[in-house]
Each structure stands twice: as structure tokens, then as C-alpha cells.
């Protein structure tokens, strides 16, 4: 039922038609802002959530693996529409910026002001540098394959260095009660939560710690590999959802 626009030549609208299309753009911007804060944030909170909520969950093994892996999903899906259909190289940055807005509002008003968690304990991580690079690579390469391999990898690899200036200070070792722990651990033990039992807190499991300083890069490269696959999968999921079909019955 929709018109075929592939063979059509366009010239810029002028006058009232330009004003109409500009007004429509603004409406879509407001719509997209709340859509991606609401939907991407829910997806993120229920898959990465705990690693992002609490400073004592931000470990070297799972946090750098899970966060980019789940964080590249919506950006890939939105890029598939924004870039392919509108030539707008901002799908990933839009999604991640919306996610940051949603998480910051929730951490301040839902965690800090309602239940009195220190804001340092519930700081959200950032993926903005990763998203900017992902968008830039798609724009420069105009290629799903190149973006999946190089963009997806960099999306994961940039995550830990981008967050180190924010969270590094909480990884300082301290001696407390005749035991060694980090400042992050101490914050966790001081604020009793239903998510703090060690059978729930999935950090530093197994023997990865025996790799010493290589634990984080190993997690990051593992995430980079998985992100290339996840990116491609979600690119096609985004395309599938952006169908323009009309059905005769449901």
C-alpha cells in the first residue's frame, strides 16, 4: 500500500511544506527521546542492571563483558533504521544518551532521595565514547560488516577505559576488620541490600583472578568478540521491527 520512493527525485521543500516537515521532525524528536529512555532503559536495567546499579558489582570479569554486550543491542537496531532510511549517523549516540538520562534521573530520585543510598554507590556507567565511535564508523564506512567488526569491537574495548576515571577511585584497596577489600566492597557491606548475598552478587567468579592484571583486558576482548555478533543480530532485529507491512487481519 505504500508508495515506491526508490525511483523518485527529491528537491528540498520550501515555504509551508518546509515548515510542516520541520514541525514533524520536532514531534518525532520528543517521541524518540521518551521512547528510547523508556524502552532501552528497561531492557538495560533487567539484563545489566545490578552491575550498573552498584559500585560493588563493578568488577573486572562480568561488568566489562555484560554491559557493552547488552548495551550495543538497541544502538544497532536503531542505526539500522536511522542510517539506512534517513542517513542520520546518530542512532547509537541517541540510544546511549537517552539511557544515560534515564539512569541518572533514577539514581538520584529513586535511589538517593528515596532510599538514601549515597550517590557514589549508585553512579551509572557511561557508554557515550563507545556510541560516538560506533556511529562514526558506520558513517565513514557505510558498511554493516565493517561496523560490526571494528565498531562492535571498539564499543566493547572502549568501555572500561571510558569508565575508569569515574570508578577507579572505588577500586583502591583498603584493610578493614583484618581483611583486604576495596572501597567499593566496603560501601556494599555498609548499605545492607537484598541484592548483596554472595550467591547473588556475580563478580570475580572462578579463577579468572589468577590472571592478575590481565583479567580486565580478557573480559573486554571477550566482549568485543561477542559484540560483533550481537551488533549484527540486532541490526537485523531492528530492520525486522521497522517493517512497513499492513495486514488484512490479525
Amino acid at each position: 500500500m505504500s508508495v515506491d520512493l526508490s525511483s523518485r527525485s527529491f528537491r528540498p521543500y520550501t515555504g509551508e511544506k518546509a515548515r510542516i516537515t520541520r514541525a514533524y521532525d520536532y514531534l518525532i524528536l520528543v517521541l524518540a527521546l521518551f521512547l528510547f529512555i523508556g524502552s532501552f532503559h528497561l531492557h538495560f536495567a533487567l539484563t545489566v542492571g545490578d552491575w550498573d546499579f552498584w559500585v560493588d558489582w563493578k568488577d573486572r570479569q562480568w561488568w566489562p563483558l555484560i554491559t557493552p554486550l547488552m548495551g550495543i543491542t538497541f544502538p544497532a537496531a536503531v542505526q539500522a533504521v536511522m542510517w539506512e532510511k534517513f542517513r542520520l549517523p546518530l542512532g547509537a549516540t541517541l540510544c546511549i544518551a537517552c539511557l544515560s538520562i534515564g539512569t541518572w534521573i533514577a539514581r538520584i530520585f529513586a535511589y538517593h532521595y528515596w532510599n538514601y543510598f549515597p550517590i557514589n554507590m549508585v553512579l551509572p556507567s557511561t557508554m557515550l565514547p563507545s556510541a560516538l565511535v560506533l556511529d562514526a564508523i558506520l558513517m565513514l564506512s557505510n558498511s554493516l560488516t565493517v561496523t560490526a567488526i571494528f565498531g562492535g569491537s571498539l564499543f566493547a574495548l572502549l568501555f572500561y577505559p571510558a569508565n575508569w576515571p569515574i570508578f577507579g577511585m572505588f577500586h583502591v584497596p583498603i584493610e578493614y576488620g583484618n581483611g583486604q577489600m576495596t572501597v567499593a566492597d566496603l560501601l556494599g557491606f555498609e548499605y545492607i541490600r537484598t541484592g548483596m548475598p554472595e550467591y547473588l552478587r556475580i563478580i570475580e567468579r572462578g579463577t579468572l583472578r589468577t590472571y592478575g592484571q590481565y583479567a580486565t583486558p580478557l573480559s573486554a576482548f571477550c566482549s568485543a568478540l561477542l559484540c560483533t555478533l550481537m551488533y549484527t543480530l540486532w541490526w537485523y532485529i531492528g530492520k525486522w521491527f521497522a517493517t512497513v507491512r499492513y495486514l488484512t487481519k490479525i
Binding site: 523508556g38 528497561l42 536495567a45 529513586a110 535511589y111 499492513y246
Partner: protein, 257 residues
């Protein structure tokens, strides 16, 4: 937001200062304002009474402050759903074959406003109050499925965005020719998928009967919500359908300065 072709003939030209395609802008902004007041009011209510009366579901104070709110919410939701859906259906346009291009463009703007109001409700349900649910259940043992945050999140916010999504779907179906002739798959996905999040509350609460002391947000019992919200990506398809049709309609307008 429900002008029909018959009404248009009676109304003639409007003396509004807004351009014709933004006729419903003030109603749209009022919708935002009303929802903001409702959601912030509920959050302030939680701030005032959750710790003092919402920790133990067996106390009379819980019954008074929280279960009473729950029953009020059910009535409000039922009245709002029947009122809005009934209004949109009974004022439907029965003369869509004679719709002028200008009026159809205006209705695409109004549909976008409806979807925008829907996504605003999705923001409060999917972002703010959803994360707040984790915050609350970190400090309060859940001894009932009707906790101080669930009463607002699951039994008010979720049904409210479902109703608003249904309003967008009904508006398109009853006032826009393409949506009346066929059922838009992306619009249906974007409304029905997030509706399944409401259904997932049952799975979630069943899971928590095994696991009521702990709160692990990334646990598989929460993934029903996650799959439901992926369907919000259907908005990309709605945008493509809308833009394609708007290009056709703009071609039918005269070039005006």
C-alpha cells in the same frame, strides 16, 4: 483529537493562531502536563508514606494507605480506558474516502502526538518507576505482590501506557485511510508487545514466590519484561509508514510561501 470529516464541513476555517497542521498541539501539551502531575504526585505520595506505612502488608496502615490507593487506581484505569477508547470509537470518521490531503496530514501529526504521549507513559513505567522498584526491594522485604512500588508501577503505570497505546492504535484505525484499510503491523507490534509486559507481571510474581527476600534485577524471571519492550522498536516502522504517506500528501498540496 477526534475531529471527523463530517465535523470539518461544519467547522470551516479555525481562528486559532496555530498552523492548521498543529491544531492539536495545546491538547498534546496538556496531556504531557497532566501525566507529569499524576506521576510526580504518585512519587511524592511514595516519599511521604512508603517508609512509614508501606513496609508491612499485614498492618491496618498498609490497608489504609496502599490497598485503598490500589482500589482507587483500578477504578480510575477502568473509567479512563472505557472513556477514551469509547470516545475514539464512537466519534470515528465514517467518511474516510473523502478525506482532504490537508486534513490527512493534520491527522498524521495528531497520531504522532498520540504515540508521543504513549512513549511518555512508557518512560515513567519502563525507566523511572522500574528502576525505583529495584531500589525499593533492596531495602524492603516483599511480603505481598502489592508492595508500595508495585501498586503504582504494575497496577497503574503499566495499564495506563497500555491504554494510551490502544488510543494511538484506535486513532489511526478510525481516522487515517491507510490504517483503516489495512492493519499496520509495526503499530500493532509497538502497542501489543509492550502490553505483554503487563502480562509478564504474573510470571514475575510467580517467580518471586520462590525468591521473595532477594532482589536480583538481571534474573531470568524478569526477562519477560525485556522481550516485551523490544517490540517498541516497531515505532521505526510507524515512522517509515508515516513519512512515506506524508511525502505523497505533500505532493498534493500547492507550494505556499
Amino acid at each position: 483529537m477526534a475531529t471527523t470529516t463530517e465535523h470539518l464541513i461544519e467547522q470551516g476555517e479555525s481562528d486559532s493562531k496555530l498552523p492548521w497542521y498543529l491544531k492539536d498541539l495545546y491538547r498534546y501539551l496538556k496531556g504531557f502536563a497532566l501525566l507529569t502531575i499524576v506521576y510526580m504526585g504518585l512519587r511524592l505520595y511514595q516519599g511521604a508514606f512508603a517508609v512509614s506505612t508501606g513496609l508491612d502488608s499485614t498492618t491496618p496502615a498498609f490497608e489504609q494507605y496502599w490497598m485503598r490507593l490500589f482500589y482507587i487506581e483500578l477504578w480510575v484505569i477502568a473509567a479512563f480506558a472505557s472513556g477514551m477508547w469509547g470516545y475514539l470509537w464512537f466519534t470515528r470518521d465514517r467518511n474516510l474516502d473523502n478525506l482532504a490531503p490537508k486534513e490527512e496530514i493534520r491527522r498524521y501529526f495528531t497520531l504522532t502526538m498520540w504515540i508521543s504521549i504513549y512513549t511518555f507513559a512508557v518512560y515513567w513505567a519502563g525507566s523511572y518507576f522500574a528502576e525505583q522498584d529495584n531500589s525499593w526491594h533492596q531495602v524492603a522485604i516483599r511480603d505481598t505482590p502489592f508492595t508500595a512500588n508495585h501498586i503504582i508501577e504494575f497496577y497503574f503505570n503499566f495499564p495506563l501506557y497500555v491504554i494510551l497505546g490502544g488510543c494511538a492504535w484506535l486513532y489511526a484505525r478510525t481516522r487515517l485511510p491507510l490504517y483503516a484499510k489495512g492493519i499496520s503491523l509495526p503499530l500493532t507490534l509497538a502497542v501489543v508487545g509492550p502490553f505483554m509486559i503487563l502480562v509478564s507481571v504474573g510470571f514475575n510474581e510467580w517467580g518471586h514466590t520462590f525468591w521473595f527476600r532477594e532482589e536480583f534485577f538481571a534474573a531470568p524471571i524478569h526477562w519477560g519484561f525485556v522481550i516485551g519492550v523490544w517490540f517498541a522498536l516497531g515505532v521505526g516502522g510507524i515512522l517509515l509508514q508515516g513519512v512515506t504517506r506524508l511525502i505523497e500528501l505533500l505532493d498534493q498540496l500547492e507550494d505556499n510561501i
